[in-house]
């Protein structure tokens, strides 16, 4: 993977921006806007489809979270195997330097808005592989931006669910329409 040009400074998508600005200037428009925004965020948060980037041990606990005991499906969290259909990416496990460009590439293929959950110590900062190690990436946030960190080695499935709930809270509180989107 070669060095890439720096990304352009984030701008808003022009038509939406114009519509938002017009609505905002109308009397009562901002109230309508916030209601629409609430609806959008609520639906986004309630159907969080993650790309299951299972790399190592945490992937097993991630699988267990979808199995009968914890049953993540009941929260509208349905695993996707392709980045094109995913809202967020659960990076579960240690990521090697050999794997890092692939994580980045799959993250780039996800449509905006996209989120990343870093599951486990290894994905968060290299964990037990932090020292004396030549092949593990010291934290997935060197490669992709991370929204929620779930510590644990590996975290219990409940901890992953809690991380997903945290992400849902974050999505619900987000100024979705007024937010900066990379062009």
């Amino acid at each position: 993977m070669s060095a890439q040009a720096p990304p352009p400074i984030p701008t808003r998508i022009a038509p939406i921006q114009t519509a938002v600005d017009i609505l905002d200037s109308l009397p009562g428009g901002s109230v309508v806007l916030s209601k629409v925004e609430y609806l959008l965020n609520w639906s986004r948060a309630a159907s969080l489809w993650p790309l299951t980037f299972g790399l190592a041990c945490c992937a097993i606990e991630m699988m267990a979270a979808w199995a009968g005991r914890f049953d993540l499906d009941r929260m509208g969290v349905i695993p996707r195997a392709t980045p094109r259909q995913a809202d967020c990416m659960i990076v579960a496990g240690r990521c090697t330097i050999k794997m890092a460009p692939i994580v980045r590439r799959l993250w780039e293929q996800m449509p905006e808005p996209k989120y990343v959950i870093s599951m486990g110590s290894c994905a968060t900062c290299g964990g037990p592989f932090y020292y004396d190690n030549y092949s593990i990436l010291k934290g997935i946030d060197q490669v992709v931006p991370v929204d929620v960190y779930v510590p644990g080695c590996p975290p219990r499935p409940e901890a992953l669910i809690e991380g997903l709930l945290k992400l849902q809270e974050k999505i619900k509180a987000e100024p979705f329409l007024r937010r900066a989107v990379p062009a």
């Binding site: 993977m1 070669s2 060095a3 890439q4 720096p6 990304p7 400074i9 984030p10 330097i97 050999k98 890092a100 460009p101 980045r104 190690n133 030549y134 092949s135 990436l137 946030d141 060197q142 490669v143 931006p145 991370v146 929204d147 937010r179 900066a180």
Partner: protein, 193 residues
């Protein structure tokens, strides 16, 4: 049984040097103190022998095909880097599925230019193990069908399991880190870190 095997091998190839035999366990010796064992040199708990690199293929063929040995299973091939003696020990573990006996072979090669004939033609299982030893220790297996790096990326520099290996972050990762830094700076506070 297996130590007798080493003797048989010695009869066949006089230049093969057996491992020193395991010293008997002293009753009441403190656990986990090097102390008294230290003077005697290392003890080997698995039977085996040192083989000169030039005779390796010949020895290996006898070990695999001929009657008292019949070692048809190659468990692993690896290396031990010993910078203070300026050598790399290439270790082979052989096993017989029928006779249930095992044997370690060690080949000592100079550290600067470690070259060993490949045994992957005799034991196909050694193929990947030799690639791994090449990747991580830089041992060149002559006559190997496909001697490429197996664990690290193809453009990796150095052999990580060498004792004097110094880790350097690859160039692209440093660049990507710088790019991530710019991404973070481009975002407003509270957007995403």
């Amino acid at each position: 049984m297996s130590w007798a095997l080493v003797e048989r091998l010695r009869e066949r190839f006089p230049e093969v040097e057996p491992f020193p035999r395991e010293a008997p366990h002293e009753a009441g010796a403190p656990v986990g103190r090097p102390g008294r064992h230290e003077a005697r040199g290392p003890t080997y708990h698995t039977p085996g022998a040192f083989v000169p690199a030039a005779r390796l293929l010949e020895v290996a063929r006898v070990l695999r095909d001929e009657a008292p040995f019949g070692l048809d299973y190659c468990s692993f091939v690896t290396g031990v880097d010993r910078p203070e003696q300026d050598l790399v020990e290439v270790v082979y573990h052989l096993f017989s599925m029928d006779e249930r006996h095992e044997l370690l072979l060690k080949v000592r090669v100079p550290r600067r230019d470690p070259r060993v004939p490949s045994v992957s033609a005799l034991w196909p299982a050694a193929n990947w193990h030799e690639r791994e030893a090449y990747d991580l220790l830089g041992v060149v297996f002559e006559g190997h069908p496909d001697l490429r790096r197996i664990m690290m990326t193809d453009d990796w520099e150095g052999h990580p399991l060498r004792k004097d290996y110094v880790y350097q972050e690859p160039r692209w990762l440093v660049d990507l880190g710088a790019q991530r830094q710019r991404e973070i700076e481009g975002l407003r506070l509270g957007d995403r870190a």
